[in-house]
């Protein structure tokens, strides 16, 4: 009797500790972000979003995501298809390379581009002569973001495609389907939820990336500032409402991503597939 009570008490204490921890670590910052953003009212918060610099940051973030997410989706699909369907020399090396961005600090992920394309980098002088600017410009931001977010789609799809095997694709081939018919009608429908999940995570990271982007950005206001960089800049200017309003916008994105992710996980789990 006493033992059960004690166990119940322990359980309660553990649950309480977890809840408190979650509240302090996750919920409280979120509340703080929205609270600070709205501290002078909704109108004031919305007004900061109409500042040209803020608008430029939002636009730039969308551009960066709009280029790097589709790029990584296509590359991730191709890579996972190769890895899932074929045994070839260098296959495990490819798997390792795909995961590389996860194990490298984002600062390094930005620095490699500076070393390659910067004014003093390997290809810098060449680019300068051609009149191309990559570092401290939009192409650099896209490169850095694409590098950091590369693993998301591929990592989600490789186990899924390995588990499903090639039999359905082979069946489609014997029935007369060509490569693209097989892809659109058989391969894609089978991996659609996993793919969407990977794209979602990729997008969230692409919009929220700070470290790698900070290195290649050059911090030119209104030109090379993405939303996370803009948050920092405004924060350093003591523009609390401005900083936290953009932060709140990013948090909203995170919340939406989280919600869709839960729905997707439920969908994938429901169909009996997917190791995520």
């Amino acid at each position: 009797m006493l033992a059960t009570q004690e166990r119940a008490a322990t359980r309660l204490a553990l649950i309480a500790a977890t809840v408190v921890l979650l509240a302090v670590l996750l919920l409280l910052p979120l509340v703080a972000v929205f609270g600070e953003a709205l501290s002078r009212g909704l109108a004031a918060a919305l007004a900061t979003l109409e500042e040209p610099d803020a608008l430029a940051a939002i636009r730039l973030t969308l551009i960066v995501a709009a280029v790097s997410v589709p790029l990584n989706t296509v590359c991730g699909l191709a890579a996972s298809w190769c890895i899932g369907r074929f045994r070839f020399r260098g296959r495990s090396l490819l798997i390792t390379l795909i995961e590389l961005p996860f194990s490298v600090s984002p600062v390094i992920s930005g620095l490699v581009w500076v070393l390659l394309f910067g004014a003093n980098g390997w290809l810098g002088p060449l680019l300068e002569r051609a009149g191309l600017r990559i570092i401290f410009a939009v192409p650099g931001l896209i490169l850095a973001t694409a590098f950091v977010t590369f693993p998301f789609v591929a990592r989600t799809l490789v186990p899924l495609m390995q588990q499903q095997g090639a039999a359905e694709e082979e069946a489609a081939m014997t029935l007369g389907a060509n490569f693209w018919q097989t892809f659109w009608r058989v391969t894609l429908p089978n991996i659609r939820w996993g793919l969407l999940y990977g794209v979602l995570l990729c997008n969230a990271r692409a919009m929220g990336e700070f470290g790698a982007v900070a290195v290649v950005s050059g911090h030119v206001r209104g030109q090379t500032m993405t939303m996370p960089l803009q948050v920092e800049a405004l924060f350093n200017d003591y523009d609390w409402v401005g900083a936290f309003t953009i932060a709140a916008l990013l948090s909203l994105l995170a919340l939406v991503t989280l919600a869709v992710k839960v729905v997707l996980e439920w969908r994938i789990g429901d169909r009996g597939g997917a190791l995520l």
């Binding site: 039999a167 359905e168 081939m173 014997t174 029935l175 007369g176 018919q181 009608r185 058989v186 089978n190």
Partner: protein, 342 residues
Amino acid sequence: MTVELRDLRKSFGGVTALDGVSLTVAPGEFLALLGPSGSGKTTLLRALAGLEFVDTGDIVVNGSNMRDVPARERGIGFVFQHYALFRHMTVARNVAFGLEVRARSRRPARHDIQARVQSLLDLLGIGALADRYPEQVSGGQRQRVALARALAIEPALLLLDEPFGALDAKVRKSLRLWLRDLHDRMKLTSIFVTHDQAEALEMADRVAVLRAGRIEQVDAPDRLYAEPATAFVHEFLGESIRLDCIVSQGMARIAGLPGGVPAAGCADGKAIALIRPHEIALLPSGDAVRVDGVHSVGPMRRLRVSHQGGVIEVLLPMEAWTPSPGERCGIDLSRARVYAST
């Protein structure tokens, strides 16, 4: 639909899967590829379908060489071992797939496709399942769906990889006769892979026995059983008793037993004599063997007799003379077949 395979060779990174396979399949024939796992039978089937490309050799279907023709242009139906049904499509959409992916000029109209799919499903006895998804139908039904899907493209040749491998024993038996009947009714030319000798012998017009990427023998089931060309075929099909023997001047002498077995065409020296338990007779005269046990359940009596060299199982008809346990008697092994030892 004549299919001719000429000296097919294929290896996977140094491992030989097909080691010179030649075979001709006549129109309307139902041929079984029988062999243990790793004998190359599935590789051969996949090479026929174009899912695997051979290193050398020719695949000639109705006079045209298919060697470099991709799978999607071969028009060969393939039923996969685990069916490989499209899991996100209904049964009807699965069956319609092969028609829907055709180029517009060759694609039947939508309602024609629907009608053909429905008539195929009805023919295979699964007409009521059209709107179900693969995961909602039983294993036996899935196999019929896979078959319907392969037949929808009106294949010149139908290939089946272990068609009953994924089914339980009871369903398997009834589907065998059904499939054979379907083959005859639709005038198909079919090749199926199996590792189950009973399945091959019961269903096929001819059976090709494979071993280590080579065909050991191709023959009608009864001839395959009665006149196995090699020791491997003998032992793979039906019960066999293996006895070491020595051949000299066309007669094989079995160690520890009197008398000889004719061994025409066998070189002098060590050899193997193979015999089936029901081909052995026990004789009242003689004392070459001793009866260890008699088991009289079933249509035949099963005896265990021992001699110096070991133990032999004998199957005797109920009406045959039968010694009692402990008795000594003679043994007639003259129906044994002698093969050079490998």
